[in-house]
Amino acid sequence: MNSNGKTTIFEAQGVVKRFGGIRAVDGASFSVGEGSITALIGPNGAGKTTFFNVVTGFYRSDDGLAAFDGTQILGRRPYEIARLGMVRTFQITKALARMPVIDNMMLAAPDQPGEKLANAIFRPASSRRREREVRESALELLEVFNLTPLADEYAGTLSGGQRKLLELARALMTRPRLLLLDEPMAGINPTLGRRLLDHMQRLRAEEGVSFLFIEHDMEVVMNHSDRVVVMAEGKVIAAGEPHEVREDKAVIDAYLGGSEPVAPRPNADGAPKP
């Protein structure tokens, strides 16, 4: 249980990731409530994306604990974590370029027996039956994201914004319980961005999906998230509801700077910044 009286779906404690002498993630701890939309913000280089990479198994952590729905996940492989229901997207989209959009979608569906070669050969009927279900839900999702006309195009021909939408739609095909989105709005026009936010709200309301997303657009963060976690220099420096975080002195110092008069921070050689 967290402070809101809701169940915690994700919790990190003292997660550390070092690259040589640099502690990119330096003991980050926070939790994500089930059914919440949590924003992860922080200046460039704060360790947000590295944190994502660690807790989704793409990087090996150097220390700390992370649990998804009560299961320890550090040390597990990315595909295992994804199968548990904690699915991520990437900051730089990873469209499967030489595959049609519909195949990108259908690939992501879980529980396809035909993904085992033996089943595909010896139990083709069950594989085909699942294929039909999967195609249907893929087409429904493409409709939601306005991608239906592109279903049979190679994903590599999509624009940057369309790729972002495809990646989100594809992640949803896995039927996740927690989605980690790395800058989902970047490069999307405002109309589509609003659509994407609406869809996040709807998924949470209808299917109880939780979200943890990295975002730089403060308007989006303040108006569309229930909780904000702020990272700076690898640590979590604040966490709370948007209005609390907005007024937090450490956050203003580290990140928001400019919305309040802030004393100039010393730079590397100790001299005040101009």
């Binding site: 992501a108 070669l117 699942r130």
Partner: protein, 327 residues
Amino acid sequence: MHLPLAISLNFLTDTGFWTGVLILAGVYALVALGLQLNMGFTGIVNFGAAGFMAVGAYSMAILTLKTGLSFWASLPISMLITIGFGFLLGLPSLRLRADYLAIVTIAASEVVRLVAQNARDLTGGNQGLFCEGAKCFDDQWRDVSDKIVGWLQDLGWSNPDQLVPLLLVVWLTVIVVTLGLVFAQRTPWGRVLRAVREDEDAARALGKNAFSYKLQSLSISAAIGAIAGWFLALDLATLHPLDYEPIVTFYAYAILVLGGLANYWGVLAGAVIFWVIVEGTRFLELGISEVRLAAIRFAIAGLILILIMVFRPQGLFGKRDEMVLGE
């Protein structure tokens, strides 16, 4: 006197010669099918194909000659040995990036060849491996082959070449393997392979065990390589380390590129065209001595291949869209 740059046409009717060329084309089609699975559909840069052939061929011949096993029993066992070899090779190396994987696989294939050259008691070394006393590794195949020749004569082919049965069996195998691969590629299993080719991390983030799929791809390619190795041994009626040099893998890659990536049928066309060009250049009449022609014909074959690629960079059956998007 011949006109320079003319081609005499009487070679076209030399069935013995063309039987040999087409057997070679079939053997290389098999090798290139395995590479197509790896390179074209999984994104694995496997340069160890000749090693798979050598392991398959040598373990088949050694089992037949040195143990009590029959030729037929040694086939499935040697295939399992080759699959095991591919599996063990892939286990540490498939975590490597493409260029490093290429180096490791080509090195592994050279290690196999050098072992074959030096483990003389087992492989015959540079003397080759064919018979022990009165027993030859291909005795049982020859019995079958003679039977097929008899059938062909019954069907009215008065005097088929000795190698025609092998030709038929090789190409029947090529067709069956191609159909199997085409089928597998259309299943959800094949879709995961393509996803791994496109972006391994994306596949993993969607819950796919990319490493396992790469290992499966390499193991299947090893099994196909073993079959190609058997056929090469039966064609040459001997096993010699020099027949498994890396050039074999390079030719198979040339066939792959010529036929086009991510298309199994293209491999078949590529193999036939490649060997017809390479062997057909023997019959060029350039008004020069045979020795000089032998030296120059590979250059001419290379030139023809380059010209085909200039006009069809995606290969004969490759998709131009996919080539462009892959860059």
